[in-house]
C-alpha cells in the first residue's frame, strides 16, 4: 500500500548502497529488533493467554490438579443458567437505553457549539468534556452518594426516601444516567471534530441554493458524518458489552459485585474466577467475544443498508 514511500533500508538497498555483494545484517535485523519487544509482549501477554483461554473453556479446571476435558459443557451450563440471561438482558438494556440519548445529546451539542450562535466556544468545549476526566470509580461513587436512599443528596433535596440503588428497576436507570453523564463530553468532542472536518463550502453552497437548516442537516451534514457515527456506535457498543466498573462501584457494596438483578455479563466471568471455575470463566469471555463480533457486524450492516437507501 504505502511501500513506495517507505524507507528502503532493506537488504537489497544496503547491497547497492555499499556497492558490495555483502548483506549488512544490521540493516536486515533492525526492523525485527524494533518490533520484537512489542511482539514478544503481545504474544506472551495476549495471544498466548487468548489461546490458553480458548482451550481452557473446554476444560473443567480448579487451578490445581488435573484439568478434565468436558467438551462444550461449560458453554452449555452458561447458556442454560438463568443468571447469564439476566446479566445479558441487563447488559443489552444498559447499551440500548444509554446509546440513543448519549449520541443524540452529544451530536446536538456539537452542532450547537459549532453554530454561529454560540460565542465562547473555547470555554464550552473543555467544560462539556470535563466529566470524562473524572476517574470512573470517583464518578460512580459520587453517583452512589447522589442517589443514596437515607443519606443521598437527591432524596435529601426532594425530602423523599426513594430506594434508587436498592430497587433494581430504578438502579438500572441510575446506571444509564451515569453512562450518559460521563459519555456525552467524549462523543461531543469527536462529533465536533467531525463537523469541523466537513468542508464548509459544501454547506454554504447548499444555503445559497436555498436549502433550509433541516435540509442541510439531513442531506449534507448527516451523510458526511456517517463514518464518524458508525465509529461512535461500534465503539460504544463494544464498551457497553464490557461494562463493569460503573455498575459494580455504584451498587456493589464492600468491593463485592453488584447483585445479579442489575449485573452486567462480565460479573459472571469474575464470579467464576473467584470461585476457581477457570474453564467457566474463560467460556464467559468467549461468549462475550461472540456477542461483540455479532453486534459490530449488525451495526456495519445497518449502516451499509442506510447508505444504500440514501444514494
Amino acid at each position: 500500500m504505502d511501500t513506495n514511500d517507505a524507507l528502503e533500508l532493506s537488504a537489497q538497498r544496503a547491497i547497492s548502497a555499499a556497492g558490495k555483494r555483502k548483506i549488512r545484517w544490521g540493516d536486515v535485523l533492525a526492523p525485527y529488533l524494533f518490533i520484537s519487544p512489542f511482539i514478544l509482549a503481545w504474544l506472551t501477554l495476549f495471544i498466548g493467554p487468548a489461546i490458553y483461554s480458548l482451550v481452557l473453556s473446554f476444560f473443567r479446571y480448579k487451578g490445581y490438579g488435573t484439568a478434565t476435558y468436558i467438551g462444550i459443557q461449560n458453554y452449555q451450563s452458561i447458556l442454560t443458567y438463568h443468571v447469564f440471561w439476566t446479566m445479558l438482558r441487563n447488559t443489552i438494556f444498559y447499551w440500548l437505553a444509554h446509546v440513543i440519548p448519549l449520541m443524540t445529546f452529544a451530536f446536538l451539542l456539537a452542532v450547537l457549539v459549532r453554530s454561529k450562535l454560540v460565542r465562547w466556544k473555547s470555554f464550552f468545549k473543555p467544560v462539556i468534556f470535563l466529566p470524562n476526566v473524572i476517574a470512573v470509580v470517583a464518578s460512580a461513587l459520587v453517583f452512589q452518594s447522589l442517589f443514596g436512599t437515607q443519606y443521598g443528596v437527591l432524596n435529601s433535596l426532594i425530602g423523599a426516601q426513594i430506594p434508587w440503588l436498592q430497587d433494581p428497576k430504578l438502579t438500572r436507570y441510575v446506571v444509564v444516567l451515569l453512562l450518559v453523564w460521563r459519555g456525552v463530553g467524549w462523543w461531543f468532542v469527536i462529533f465536533l471534530a467531525g463537523l469541523t472536518a466537513i468542508n464548509t463550502e459544501v454547506e454554504e453552497a447548499a444555503l445559497v441554493d436555498g436549502a433550509s437548516a433541516w435540509q442541510q442537516m439531513r442531506h449534507i451534514t448527516l451523510p458526511l458524518m456517517r463514518n464518524t457515527f458508525l465509529f461512535a456506535f461500534v465503539i460504544d457498543a463494544i464498551s457497553s458489552f464490557r461494562l463493569f466498573t460503573e455498575v459494580n462501584v455504584l451498587v456493589g457494596t464492600g468491593g463485592g459485585l453488584a447483585p445479579v438483578a442489575v449485573a452486567p455479563i462480565l460479573n459472571l466471568l469474575l464470579s467464576n474466577l473467584r470461585g476457581a471455575q477457570f474453564g467457566m470463566s474463560a467460556a464467559v469471555g468467549w461468549i462475550l467475544f461472540v456477542l461483540v463480533v455479532a453486534v459490530t457486524y449488525i451495526q456495519f450492516r445497518l449502516f451499509q443498508e442506510n447508505a444504500e437507501g440514501v444514494e
Binding site: D2, S10, G26, I35, W42, P49, L117
Partner: protein
Amino acid sequence: MAGSASATPTRSSASYRRGRSIQVALAHSILLIVVAISFYPLIVMALNSFKTDSEVLRNPAGLPEVWTLASYRAIFEYHGGLWRNFINSVIVASTSTLVSVWFASMAAFAFAKYQFRGRNLIFALLLAMMMVPFEITVPPLYIMFARLGWLNTYQALIVPSLASVFGLFLMRQYMLGVPSALLEAARIDGANHWQLYWRIMAPASAPILGAFAILHFMGVWNDYLWPLVVATERSIQPIMVVLPNLRDPHIGFLPVWGTIMAGSVLATLPIVTVFVAFQDKFMSSVVIGAVKE
C-alpha cells in the same frame, strides 16, 4: 458570517437581528444548563470532601456547615494510610505508560518506515486480533501469575497493558506522514538505526506519542477490573480498588462519605491537572482515533 446575513434580504435587518439575539440567548441558556448538569456531581464531590464523615450523613446536599480538612487528613492517617495506594496507582500507571509508548513507537517506526519480510502479514494479524476483548485473557493470566508468584505485585498490575495495538496503529498512521527524506538525510550523515528512531522519528512524532500517553495513562489509572483480580492485599492495591471500600474504622460497615469524596477528589486530581494544562492536546487525543481526514 457576513454572507449568511446578506443571504436573507427579505427580512428587515432590525427584526432579523432581534430574532437572532433570541436564538443566541436560547443557545447559551441551553449550554449553561448542560454545563450545570455536568458540574453538579463534581460540586457535590468537592463540597462533601470538605465536610466530616458525620456531617455528610446529616447534610449531604448543602454547603459545609464547618469547612474542614478532616476528611483529607483521614486519608493519610486512617484506613492504613491511603497515600500508599495513591503511590501504587502512580507507579503502575506511569510505568505502564512509559513502557507501552516506547514499545509501540519502536514497532510503529518499523511498520511505517522499513521494508521487511512478513511486515504486512504481522500487521494484519495485530489488527485482526484487536476485536478480541482483553477480558478473555483474565482467567489464564490469573493462573499464569499465580504460578509465577506474581499475585499482589506491581508487575502483575503493569505487565498486561504493555502491548497496545491501538497505540501502535495510531503511531504508525502518524509516522507514515513523516517525510522519509528526513530519515534519508540522517542516514547519509551516518546515523544508525537506533539514532534514526530516537533522534529523528520519536521527536518528529511527539504529538501522537503524547496523545497516546494521555489516553493510556487514563485507561490504566481508571482500571478497576484487573486490579480487583490480582491485587487483594491492601498494601499493593491501586487507589481505585480501595476507595469504594472505605468504612468507618470504629463501627465498620458504615461508608465514610467525607473521606471517600476526599479520596475521589485526589484520585481525579492528576488527570484534571493534565487536562487543564494540555486541554487542546487532551481533547485532540480523543479525536485522533475517531475522525479520519
